[in-house]
Point group: C2
Chain length 449, copies 2
């Protein structure tokens, strides 16, 4: 274990202890200063980004890097830099998630218990390409009072370092009485450092990997530290026997084509046999118009063949297709004979991310939403709504398919935990029991949002 890595983790821990009692105003002042510096340092940052892009271009040409990864690396595309700046201001405006009372109980006279939200402590964020993550995550961590160690991908090395230096200079520029510790945000770069950091569970409280499923699983298997998994998603949309034909083509098409590479895009279309002939042609036509190709099971294939859809737009599905996240304009189609069969298929083949039912029958919708085990269960809406901004969280750390701590789109709330504060007056446990005092356990009203 290198001393340098231990020092980084120790410094993060010390910073996190200071951040436990940093005021909202101090945190916001830091975030505003970060925006100021990012505006000031724009040219230098884009120059560094240009260096990464030149290297990446060669990698793309050599076929070692995908074009979409290259796009994501580019900070000067369209209004990307402006969005990055506005994202910083958005976090400034969000309410502080710490210090909220979530339970208050009068245990006895002179003995009151409060459960109060507080930062988790030290976060380790591991991310690939997108350099803007440095800024986004740093601001969310500061706002929630967490220290953060960032580990970015090597493709974005120069961009990450330039953004990080701008952030550090912003923190340094504040008068000491307003400043958060400099070690609140730290950046590490080499891959070796990751394995060392994953062993430091005495300093690091939560790991958030943002990347491929393979990377997330590797990290989960390599550490005692809790992992907030941002896995990919295999989402399904089920067109029920009582689906409205005015809704199904629109919702299914949006769910597939709105952003096919996203984890909340629909990969599998389930359709009830009762509406197969009446609705599949319209749905398929709408999909094909948007460039989608279909992998259909036998019964769906038979119906597609009766339409005027060109035969090169569909083919027979393999079993594997129903376990595949295509992340592109391909959809698997399966016919089911009951709502129960649809639910069963989703619970086995889905990734517990987001699943939608199209139906006009409330009982079917409620049964689907109760029995499907997923972070999001939707009725007559596109799976693409699974997103922190759309949910109204203002900002998002990512989407979690964990079933503990935070599930679904994760906003600032996912970066806090709570502590119990007990206000006594000299109380001993030995005062209570048979023939002695009894607990009152009455609710104390909570006056806050």
């Amino acid at each position: 274990m290198s001393q340098e890595i231990i020092k980084i983790a120790e410094q993060a821990r010390q910073a996190s202890l200071v951040l436990q009692s940093t005021t909202t105003e101090q945190k916001n002042a830091t975030i505003r200063k970060i925006r100021e510096f990012l505006e000031k340092d724009k040219d230098a940052i884009l120059k560094a980004n240009q260096q990464d892009l030149e290297k990446a271009k060669a990698e793309v040409e050599a076929g070692r890097l995908s074009a979409s990864l290259f796009k994501r690396l580019d900070l000067s595309r369209g209004d990307k830099y402006q969005s990055l700046l506005e994202g910083v201001s958005d976090v400034d405006k969000l309410p502080d998630p710490t210090g909220k009372i979530t339970l208050a109980t009068h245990l006895d006279d002179g003995l009151d218990l409060y459960r109060v939200t507080c930062p988790v402590g030290v976060l380790l964020i591991i991310f690939e390409a997108r350099p803007e993550v440095v800024v986004q995550i740093s601001c969310l961590a500061i706002k929630s009072g967490n220290a953060v160690i960032l580990k970015g991908g090597k493709e974005a090395y120069n961009s990450n370092v330039a953004l990080y230096q701008s952030l550090q200079n912003a923190i340094k520029s504040l008068p000491p009485e307003e400043a958060i510790p400099l070690a609140s945000v730290q950046l590490v770069s080499s891959r070796d450092e990751i394995n060392e950091l994953l062993g430091l569970d005495q300093y690091i409280d939560l790991v958030i990997p943002r990347g491929s499923k393979k990377m997330v699983r590797y990290i989960q298997g390599s550490t005692r530290i809790p992992v907030l998994g941002h896995a990919d998603g295999l989402c399904s949309t089920y067109v029920d026997e009582f689906a409205d034909i005015n809704k199904s083509p629109k919702v299914v098409t949006d769910a597939k084509v709105n952003y096919p590479a996203a984890c909340n895009a629909t990969e599998t279309l389930l359709i009830h046999s009762a509406v197969l002939e009446s609705q599949l042609p319209a749905i398929a036509k709408s999909l094909v118009e948007q460039g989608v190709t279909m992998r259909a099971d036998e019964r769906a294939l038979a119906v597609l063949k009766t339409t005027d859809i060109p035969a090169d737009k569909y083919q027979a599905a393999t079993e594997e297709d129903f376990d595949t996240e295509f992340l592109e304009l391909t959809i698997a189609i399966k016919v089911v004979d009951s709502l129960q069969e649809a639910i069963g298929h989703i619970n086995i083949h889905g990734s517990h991310h987001t699943e939608s039912i199209i139906t006009e029958k409330k009982e079917n919708a409620e049964l689907f939403m109760a029995k499907v085990d997923a972070a999001g269960v939707y009725w007559n809406a596109s799976t693409r709504f699974a997103d922190g901004f759309r949910y109204g969280f203002g900002a998002e750390i990512g989407v979690s398919t964990n079933k503990t701590h935070a599930r679904g789109p994760v906003g600032l709330e996912g970066l806090v935990i709570y502590k119990y504060k007990l206000y006594g007056s000299g109380n001993a446990v030995g005062d209570y029991g048979a023939g002695k005092r009894s607990y009152i356990h009455s609710k104390i009203p909570i006056n806050q949002d």
Copy 2:
């Protein structure tokens, strides 16, 4: 991987999917039936327990098992069996933690989002000695809608099997329309099975080890499944410079002697140098009267020597003493020169479990409670209050020193997570954006407890 273990995990997963939509009344009917059967089967269960006790007695005599472990094994001691039955009825009376709306947002007209609590899924509980855990955890799991796989210690093998069979017979006795799946509760026995189960993260959602720190750490390091850690506790009580001498001896003594083997017992006493001479003698006298021996640092030792406390009741502390969970009538004593030094010591040497300050000065108490990073931060109260029953949770899974999901004493709430339910009317994400629809994001009032 044995097929039998995979089958157990698969069955648990199937049961958990059914439990997702089991009604409160069904769950309560099962819990009441369990109490009925445990009363009926009392003689058979105590007979099985007797077999375990006889084997254990030989182990104690051979020095391979501790007397306290032997005591904990005994289900016929005092009113233990009656407490076990009453614990079942307590869970029946607790509110169902699932189906509670914790967030409701109007995203747009015809598009409403609800966050609703739901079961985690499949729990794996690993526990040592205490056979009553079989009953307690099974009832809490059923009430929260989780399927559970129980792995007990070999010392309690016969007792665990007898209790488990009584539970199974209770479930089987219910009419099918009221019954929960039989696989909602399963018991496994051999140690090999644990390692296999820890690899089945596709079926098991949460592991709760109840046992030694060593066992908890082993499990954390051996699985991708989230672990709710019930570690031991190194709790401290800090007697501040503004402590009231009418409170400090009482609170410190209760915190040490009320149940020294518990994780919330105080192991370290920190005392401010300004009250060392005025308060330590009274505190020490109170401790010694209850049989406590002291490990004191140099300055504390000098003061103890001026008292009439027998010299065999105290000795010089080693550095190691401040990192030791004695779990018996021994306390380490350290003198500090400031509140900040006390906070620093606790954040480094404590286990982030429960820490108390004795002071009359509100600012000092608030600073301590803000800056100490622990699940419980107390003011003028014994650390022994860290307990689900005392907090008013009605029942407790254990105490967590995790900083994600559930922290401190964990009641039924720690066994639930949430899902997002989105009620749409044919909505597509593509309908929103610049020049298109905007999100409304208004709060929907929640009418429930």
